[in-house]
């Protein structure tokens, strides 16, 4: 009898192993465990077994039943897990759906990238109002009363505030540097701050000229600063923003509020300095003016220029962003055109 049980058990095991669907397992269950099943039939034969062996046989028989039941359950779970809920034709190549579809303006993004870079070097971020007086737009910045820049910058003056003393004559700021004086007047040196903002020039617009554009000033003022320190600063900031070493060169330039003044060029990131159409085949791209704040500007901020000096740069954000993405028309930035803006994430 024991052999028979063993045989039935192995038959059941084999059937269970073969089963590929739950219905087959049902059949195994009724074939082996059902009232007319193989094990039930054996149970009926138990009385014919010798008395002394009956308890043992009964035990083995029950164990076999339990074993089969267990195997069936196991197989059932296995089959369930195996069963895919989806059709084999499920197409994994369909594109994903867009999560909430928004973004920051590309210039804001560049500005925040720069903020992060400068803040990591201990710079504060300063912000200041768009309307300023001639006093801060020009006087405090070492522009003599008749300096051509006051006119050539083609400033947007305000109606009803376009004449009179310079502290009352109001305009949309033509540059940010006047705001830097405000910062210096209200803080104690040494200074390390950046100053992002929009500036305005009354000029005709085309693909390279805008009436409203973004500048980003950085100013550091302390006692022992050489003008070459600025080069290190610019190099590390640009490298951080572009994610790669960016060679920088400084050359002679002139702006009333710095002395000496520089034009700062970065190596063209499109051709790596070999020369291409973007950099007009010179390998360098003019990205910012800079220099040491003019002694008169430091004086206007209440500092002694014999004691303090500094380094200043003014980064043209529009141009930097244009280069970052290859944008060829500066007017797109103020277009509010979602077809353009939604390209920057």
């Amino acid at each position: 009898m024991k052999d028979k049980i063993e045989q039935i058990l192995s038959e059941a095991k084999a059937k269970i192993m073969e089963a590929t669907a739950e219905s087959e397992l049902q059949k195994v269950r009724s074939d082996f465990l059902g009232k007319q099943g193989a094990l039930a039939l054996l149970l009926k034969e138990l009385p014919t077994v010798e008395v002394s062996l009956r308890p043992e046989m009964g035990k083995i028989l029950n164990q076999a039943k339990a074993k089969v039941t267990e195997l069936i359950e196991e197989k059932k779970t296995e089959l369930k897990l195996k069963a895919s809920e989806v059709s084999p034709d499920f197409d994994c190549t369909v594109p994903g759906t867009m999560p909430a579809n928004g973004g920051l303006h590309p210039i804001t993004q560049m500005c925040y990238d720069l903020n992060d870079a400068f803040r990591s070097m201990g710079f504060e971020v300063f912000q200041e109002d768009d309307i300023t007086s001639e006093l801060y737009a020009f006087d405090k910045l070492n522009f003599p009363p008749n300096h051509p820049a006051r006119e050539s910058m083609d400033t947007y003056w305000l109606e009803g505030h376009d004449s009179g003393a310079t502290n009352e004559k109001l305009c949309l700021r033509p540059h940010l540097t006047g705001g830097s004086v405000r910062y210096m007047q209200t803080h104690k040196p040494p200074y390390r701050f950046v100053y992002p903002g929009r500036v305005y020039r009354n000029e005709t617009t085309d693909a390279h000229h805008e009436r409203a554009f973004f500048q980003y000033e950085a100013l550091i003022v302390d006692k022992d600063i050489t003008f070459t320190s600025g080069k290190v600063l610019i190099q590390s900031i640009l490298s951080k923003v572009f994610g790669t070493e960016v060679p920088v060169r400084m050359r002679s330039g002139f702006f009333p509020f710095v002395e000496p003044g520089f034009e700062i060029d970065m190596q063209c990131q499109v051709c790596g300095g070999k020369g291409c159409s973007v950099c007009k085949h010179v390998g360098w791209i003019e990205v910012m003016p800079g220099g040491s704040p003019h002694p008169n500007v430091l004086r206007a901020a209440g500092l002694d220029p014999d004691e303090y000096t500094g380094f200043y740069v003014n980064i043209g954000l529009d141009r930097l962003v244009m280069m970052r993405y290859g944008v060829d028309d500066v007017r797109l930035f103020h277009s509010a055109d979602l077809r353009f803006l939604s390209q920057f994430r």
Partner: protein
């Protein structure tokens, strides 16, 4: 400004093998930005001198001729040409295949190819002067006139550039990079700089030898505005063309040759940077006076402009009245005329800012005024005079100088500056030897005296009109002559004792990132001015709105006091392409009030704020959903941006808002902004076609960032909480605020929260009613509630709602 290399070489002996790329680079790095280096000859590639052998009529075209031309390659070419002055034996400019020309001097450049013209094979093109860019050098007198080069005695086949002596190089310099260097505005100035950079000898001008009667008189009445005036009266001149080389040089650097008398004055200006002028002496009555104009004094300029002058203008006058606008332009009546035989040459110096004011006042900037306004030094008159006299004598061998007067009342003082050498070393970050410093300055024309730690520097005259005035200027000269690239870069060693924590700055960034990244909105930029259409539609009343005095366009004069008009304009622009979008902008707004400044007591600035505003536009979703999205964006904003929370009230309706759908946004008791649905009429006036638009605008300066993250931890519920939804019928006018208030008041301690699920009006709901589904969160701190207890709690809420608001259970 364009400079001719061959002209520069008149004054400095640059070696012929000079690397021009390096020259441009060195000038760019140390002095001025060289924007371009142009080989003029390149313009004339594939253009040669041809000699016409035969001119025959074209078989099929009356206006065309068929020419046989020798272009020097041993094989006569057939060229079809429409020129009217073609003759056998004539030397002409022939563009052979590959040359780039402009048809009739207009339009896009075209590459010449062999072609058939009305059936006749034509090898190339016989050119008119303007077709090959020589129109200004060889002006044609009539249409279809071919450039006649017969005067140039060169064999057929000579390249045009060689034949005309145009094998020159132009350096194009960015004017902006030399506004502060008046000394560089001329070929001699750049030559002097190159001589210094390359340590080459610079040629000097031989002083003019003038032997003339001394009764010739010039009177300077305003010596502040005219420090120096040299007048030279000459006879024996006539109006004739100047030598080709003079014309060619003037033309090369971008001016137009006119006649010998005018060309000499322009040539001298281009060479020395000092403008000069010639008057017809027969028209000058009495002597020359330099004085301020009288009020309303009339002057007709050479270019035909009829001016009515003011007392700030400086004029050159004779006994009868103004004859020229000093330093700007001559008058029409007294300048060089076709019959001029006697001239008075003016070599003068004028004060810069006055010239600039006058030139701008009459919108009449000229080559002369743009040089004078940079502040030319009066010593330069000597060079200009020497060169002028040389050319007058050369061009008019019979010239006789009949009068000469040099009034130099305001002598130029050379700038003197003391520089502490320790200071210099500190700023340079480098210890240069005294000899190094001295040689760098001396080569630029400075006189240098060093004693111990102090250096006394005297600037040359040409750098003493404001350019060099303080010790920092001297440092710059030393640094640039040393070469900026040759300084080792040193880092900063400033230390700061505080970490950067700017909550206001961070808050605005947090809000923008929340809107963009979390809420899926797009940031836009618009201009600070508003279009009248949107001002009228969205704001209406413009009281308190500032305006520009010279706006970009007449309908763009209002400066924004709210960001919403421009956002509405942005909605209109985008409606063409999108039917469901949300945008926001953060920018400054301005108000015609306040007029104080936080920085300077004397300054009078208007009130300025920074706002964030948003527009949600949809043509696909229901207003209810749109409203709840906008409200959700606002309600969750404080939580994600770390500021004090908003409450909503209905106090003052925004002018642009729908009568019903709007709320005021508060932080504590301060109103910080508005939200609402754009009124249908406003929307229509804006030109929005099919979109519903919800707006909000917040004044970010009124927001209160949290000192730190102040959320408190709450213990997790120990016993389960159950959500239980009830739907009840309320009067249609009942508000969620009222409903919630009833439930919260009733709160027995086991109603943890009541939240809005939805509301419904319409089918199956009686008129004047709405169904509101409310989700109650029910739970206890002490035990797990039985389902009976939960139902009792919900029932008691429903009873209260019934009692207080007449709400009925919605029929199941």
């Amino acid at each position: 400004m364009k400079l001719s290399l061959s002209w520069i070489k008149d004054y400095v002996s640059l070696p012929d093998d000079t690397d021009l790329k390096k020259l441009a680079y060195d000038l760019t790095m140390d002095t001025v930005e060289v924007e371009d280096v142009e080989y003029i000859g390149k313009r004339f590639e594939n253009m040669v001198v041809g000699v016409i052998k035969e001119v025959n009529p074209h078989p099929d075209a009356d206006k065309l001729r068929v020419c046989t031309v020798d272009i020097g390659d041993g094989e006569d070419k057939t060229i079809v040409c429409g020129g009217i002055n073609l003759e056998a034996g004539m030397r002409v400019a022939v563009s052979v295949p590959g040359a780039v020309v402009r048809w009739h001097g207009e339009g896009e450049p075209v590459v010449i190819k062999k072609s058939k013209l009305r059936g006749v094979e034509s090898y190339g093109m016989i050119c008119a002067s303007d077709e090959i860019g020589l129109g200004d050098l060889f002006p044609s007198s009539q249409e279809a006139e071919i450039l006649d080069l017969s005067a140039f005695d060169v064999p057929a086949g000579t390249p045009i550039a060689e034949a005309l002596g145009l094998d020159d190089v132009l350096l194009e310099i960015d004017n902006k990079s030399m506004t502060n260097r008046p000394d560089l505005w001329g070929h001699y100035g750049i030559a002097r700089e190159i001589a210094a950079l390359y340590k080459l000898p610079l040629k000097k001008f031989e002083p003019a030898q003038i032997d003339a009667p001394s009764d010739f008189k010039v009177e300077i009445i305003d010596t502040d505005r005219c420090p120096r005036y040299i007048g030279v009266e000459m006879e024996g001149v006539e109006v004739k063309p100047s030598p080709f080389e003079m014309q060619s040089r003037i033309w090369r650097v971008g001016m137009r040759p006119i006649n010998a008398l005018v060309d000499i004055t322009n040539y001298v200006m281009l060479a020395t940077g000092n403008p000069t002028h010639a008057f017809d002496a027969d028209n000058i009555k009495d002597h020359i006076r330099v004085r301020r104009a009288e009020k309303n004094e009339k002057l007709l300029l050479l270019n035909g402009k009829d001016l009515e002058l003011c007392e700030d203008d400086l004029v050159i006058a004779d006994g009868e009245g103004a004859v020229a606008l000093a330093g700007v332009m001559g008058g029409a009546k007294d300048s060089i005329l076709p019959k001029t035989e006697r001239v008075i040459l003016e070599v003068a110096n004028f004060e810069s800012t006055g010239i600039r004011r006058t030139a701008l006042r009459y919108d009449n900037r000229t080559e002369a005024s743009s040089r004078y306004e940079k502040a030319v030094d009066p010593e330069r008159c000597d060079q200009a005079l020497a060169l002028s006299i040389r050319y007058f004598k050369e061009l008019y061998p019979g010239l006789k100088i009949t009068g000469y007067c040099d009034k130099y009342e305001k002598k130029l003082q050379r700038a003197e500056i003391d520089v502490n050498l320790t200071w210099l070393a500190k700023r340079l970050g480098k210890d240069l030897t005294h000899d190094e410093i001295r040689s760098k300055l001396e080569i630029l024309g400075f006189d240098v005296a060093i004693e111990g730690d102090s250096m006394h520097v005297i600037a040359p005259t040409w750098r003493s009109t404001g350019d060099i005035s303080i010790k920092d200027d001297v440092m710059e000269e030393v640094a640039r002559m040393y070469g900026y690239d040759n300084f080792e870069a040193t880092s900063f060693n400033t230390s700061f004792d505080h970490a950067i924590n700017q909550k206001d700055i961070s808050l605005v960034r947090n809000i923008k990132e929340y809107l963009a990244i979390r809420c899926g909105m797009q940031e836009v930029y618009t201009y600070p001015w508003m279009n009248d259409v949107f001002v009228n539609a969205v704001i209406g009343d413009t009281k308190g709105v500032l305006r520009l005095s010279t706006p970009p366009a007449p309908d763009l004069s209002y400066l924004r006091s709210t960001l919403l008009p421009n956002l509405c304009e942005a909605v209109v622009k985008n409606e063409r392409y999108f039917d469901d979008f949300s945008i926001f902008e953060e920018a400054q707004v301005f108000f015609d009030e306040d007029y104080t400044s936080p920085y300077d007591e004397s300054e009078k600035l208007p009130k300025q704020r920074r706002n964030i505003a948003a527009a949600f536009a949809t043509g696909t979703r229901k207003l209810n959903d749109l409203f709840r999205e906008v409200k959700g964006v606002l309600e969750f904003m404080p939580r994600y941006t770390h500021m004090e929370g908003f409450t909503f009230r209905k106090e003052t309706k925004p002018v642009w808002a729908d009568n019903v759908v709007w709320q005021n946004i508060y932080v504590g008791d301060v109103k910080v902004g508005d939200m609402g649905l754009l009124d249908k009429k406003v929307s229509m006036e804006c030109g929005i076609k099919n979109l519903s638009v919800m707006l909000f605008e917040i004044d970010t300066t009124l927001l209160k960032p949290l000192i730190s993250r102040t959320n408190r931890f709450t213990h997790l519920a120990e016993y389960p909480e159950t959500d239980y939804d009830i739907s009840m019928l309320f009067d249609s006018s009942a508000t969620w605020e009222e409903i919630k208030e009833v439930i919260v008041k009733k709160e027995s301690g086991i109603i943890k929260n009541a939240s809005f699920v939805d509301e419904y009006r319409g089918k199956q709901i009686p008129a004047g009613k709405k169904s509101v589904t409310i989700r109650l969160t029910i739970g206890s701190k002490e035990k797990t509630l039985t389902s009976e207890e939960i139902e009792n709690a919900a029932n008691s809420v429903m009873k209260q709602l019934n009692k207080r608001m007449g709400a009925e259970l919605r029929a199941q």
